[in-house]
């Protein structure tokens, strides 16, 4: 897991759940954190804002833990960086 992304995700969850960050272990599942479906859509909304990404509904359904969320964010950030790279100059 990318430590920076993991830490930012952890902070967002702790803030949303209104609990100290120590109560949000980095390997936790959303179920262990007591999150329901509405918490999940809230989290996705906050994550999209924090990382300036767009998370697909169907892909979001398979995310059920912090490691999975962090991995998903990494993929989306890499995709964004890739698409933002300037095109090679034409000859």
């Amino acid at each position: 897991m990318n430590p920076d992304i993991a830490e930012r995700t952890q902070k967002i969850i702790a803030k949303h759940l209104r609990v100290p960050i120590e109560k949000v272990p980095l390997d936790a599942t959303f179920e262990q954190l007591g999150m329901d479906s509405l918490d999940s859509v809230n989290l996705l909304f906050e994550i999209e804002d924090e990382f300036d990404i767009s998370i697909d509904d169907q892909e979001a359904k398979s995310i059920a833990s912090i490691p999975q969320m962090v991995e998903g964010i990494e993929v989306l950030l890499a995709r964004k960086a890739g698409s933002a790279e300037p095109a090679p100059p034409s000859a």
Partner: protein, 407 residues
Amino acid sequence: MIRVAITGVGVISAIGKNAQEFWGSLQQGRSGIRPIQAPGCSGLRFPNGAEVTDYNSADYIDEKQAPIMDRFAEFAIIAAREAVRDSALEFTPEMKAGGAVITGACVGGQTSEDRQFEGLYRHGRNRCHPLTIPRIMANAGASLISMEMGLTGAGFTLSTACASAAHAIGLAYWLVRSGGAPIAISGGSEAPFSLGLLKAWEAMRVVSPTTCRPFCRDRNGMILGEGGAMMVLEPLEAAQARGAKIYAELCGFGMSSDASHITHPSTEGPSLAMQRALADGGIEPTLVGYINAHGTGTDVNDPTEAAAIRQVFGAHADQIAVSSTKSMHGHALGAAAAMEAAATVLGMHHRVLPPTANFTEIDPAIQLDVIANQARPAQVEYALSNSFAFGGLNATLAFRRVLTPCN
């Protein structure tokens, strides 16, 4: 207690701009889900909706009346006119004096609100059109119907999200049943296709990126719809005496609250609504042959509703045909329950049960006899129409077959 008949039905929807067209589509399993055409509604994660297409309000609404009406109010008045015409009921002075108009609406004049507020927030205007309030108020449909029909009895609008029209029809039923109103016009209307509202639905992550497949293994969400549906409720005895066409008897109404979660439904709440509708009508559960399900096509609703049906009916659940007509007319929010009640009574009247369109393969977690794609000829004694709102507010209407010379 006065027994209550449904003698008129009016519908405007994505699958037909009158009840006959609506029924034709239902019978053929033809879905009205298409790419969203409403102006400005692009850039969404879901491209499809069930809109009323090829609609020109001038075909229905007088140009003097038009400025006071939002699209959702137009749908209400169009459906009400058809329902009254269909009932062939001539209002007596007593009916006009006590006639009730009870409508359901979830979001009211959303298009008008969006347009006016966009002017303020985006274009720097410093005022709204003076008719903004009459256009956006959720009771506009009820008000306009009572004005046009000259009905001076009880008039109000209920808002319980996706169950609004079921609560409206249920209370109209109780009012006529108790003698509190000699007749009633009741149903719901909705026109939710405005960018602001669609974006809000997008954020809920419950709208399908493709289509609505209730009870299927590969379902992936609901599809929003729009339109209006209204019914005429009158005493059964009076309807029979005047030789009216009677679609069905409205014979039971049950309500409940989940009292648990703002968006996640419980099994207990829906189950209680069905039980109470059965008890209200003194209905023997084993005589129920059809349920028009709430059936949104979301991950959570469908198995929860299936479990609730099983909880209420036990082994008899295997004998009940179930369909979700939302697969065709979409989820029209405050109008949904009225469209579904209309689909139910039209089915009873024609002795054909409407199917669930777009059906692929049953979700193994759902143990129901879902009518897949093809309408099913069947004569049922009793049918239920379920509506379960976000916020956990539930309503079930129960209908009974009526033998008349006409059907």
